[in-house]
Symmetry: C2
Subunit: 220 residues, 2 copies
DNA sequence: TTTATAAACATTGCATGCAGTGTTCGTGAC
DNA sequence: GTCACGAACACTGCATGCAATGTTTATAAA
């Protein structure tokens, strides 16, 4: 039992509701809770050893964020992300990742160069070893670096949100366009951003995402 | 007193919390509640004639949406949207409005043509009469038509959210680039979308927003 | 008059009560 | 065996209680 009350609940400065939210979000994103599964407030409260109030707050936040969906008087269930919804997510992601890369280009620093090169090196190993799970992580980390460097909090927040929903969908619909191809795309984005070229950076980032969208639209 | 319990509370199928949320959101967006103002849960509950629970739910949603900000144990206040945050909002908006226009182009219908032409005609009158408030409304309606035609629920939802925060900021920082210029931009977007040209549609929409972003970045 | 202190007050965040509603499961008729 | 019905059960959503915390006001000292 993952009791929320254990560990950093004692630390003041973090609401219990916030901790419950993070716990549930983590479970959803890592597959511990599957699409369609009910989020019973009393059951979760019992399991985590807290009252229903903070659990209710957490569930409402998940709904607001698109990770769960609710029906009146019937509570919330983990979102089932359909094909059409997933396409829409990728459309938004293409636009925002493109803009993030554009904005990151003029903010390119030595430090970012180092982190991106480290990431690409690790990605190389991962692709060579064929470890798909690690690929997912390294891939996500690359994009996170880019969007944090864009220095645009709104874009960063929206991309985080999109990322969460995509991760749910990925459990049922794998839209990998190939690990090696993703790595190749990342190198292109890196080159453009490192060169400080906003147009090329945006174009490279968009191609990368648009390719996945196309796979989604065509293939089953 | 705007008692939430009056009116459609009796109608089942709408949660009280949802009604409180809409009431508060409307007040924030129309200026009834100003940036920095506290959102006292007990006070709002008393005023609206409901208990604290649904009010608390509503306030948490507003925070989640970026319309309010909270501090631990000190509750929430209406967001003050600073210059940097506003720029970030416009950056995200540029990317998303551009993509919305791109997606709307292939979905152009006779019905959409009529609604956009109506809007442009009305906008003409409004500009001629110099009515700035109506300009805001007509302008927003134009963009709403475009993004609803994009048929991408994620993009539509995110643009709605951005629009809300921009409306707060607009009260202190007017970033109008001129009503006539906005109307001119809208005509360009209309032409491109009506022609079914995705690239031109996206480019026109982005120029329109980017111009405002530039005004923001430079001018005080 | 200004500053320090404490006491009164209000609010937050979690816990819990409860009516209304939806769901499940067992019983009996066919 | 299958279906209809109803009772038991569980959950949702709103209301309210309460300890901890923050804020404000009143009083006293300098």
């Amino acid at each position: 039992m993952t009791d929320v009350a254990s560990g950093p609940l004692l630390r003041p400065g973090v609401r219990v509701g916030e901790r419950v939210y993070r716990t549930l979000r983590h479970r959803i994103l890592t597959g511990g809770l599957e699409p369609g599964e009910r989020l019973s407030v009393p059951a979760i409260a019992r399991e985590l050893g807290v009252s229903r109030s903070p659990v209710r707050d957490a569930v409402l936040q998940l709904v607001r964020e698109g990770l769960a969906q609710e029906t009146l008087n019937r509570g919330a269930v983990i979102s089932s992300i359909g094909r059409a919804e997933l396409v829409s997510l990728y459309e938004a992601r293409e636009a925002l990742e493109g803009m993030a890369a554009r904005l990151a280009a003029p903010h390119f620093t030595h430090d970012l160069r180092r982190r991106l090169l480290d990431n690409l090196a690790e990605h190389d190993e991962v692709v060579a070893s064929g470890d798909f799970d690690r690929h997912i992580d390294v891939d996500a980390a690359f994009h996170r670096e880019i969007r944090q460097s864009a220095n645009s909090p709104v874009i960063a927040r929206m991309l985080d949100q999109i990322q969460g929903q995509i991760m749910i969908a990925m459990r049922s619909t794998s839209v990998s366009g190939g690990m090696d191809r993703a790595l190749h795309d990342h190198r292109e984005i890196f080159e453009a951003v490192a060169a400080g070229d906003p147009d090329a950076s945006e174009a490279a980032a968009r191609r990368h995402i648009a390719r996945l969208t196309e796979i989604l639209r065509s293939d089953g």
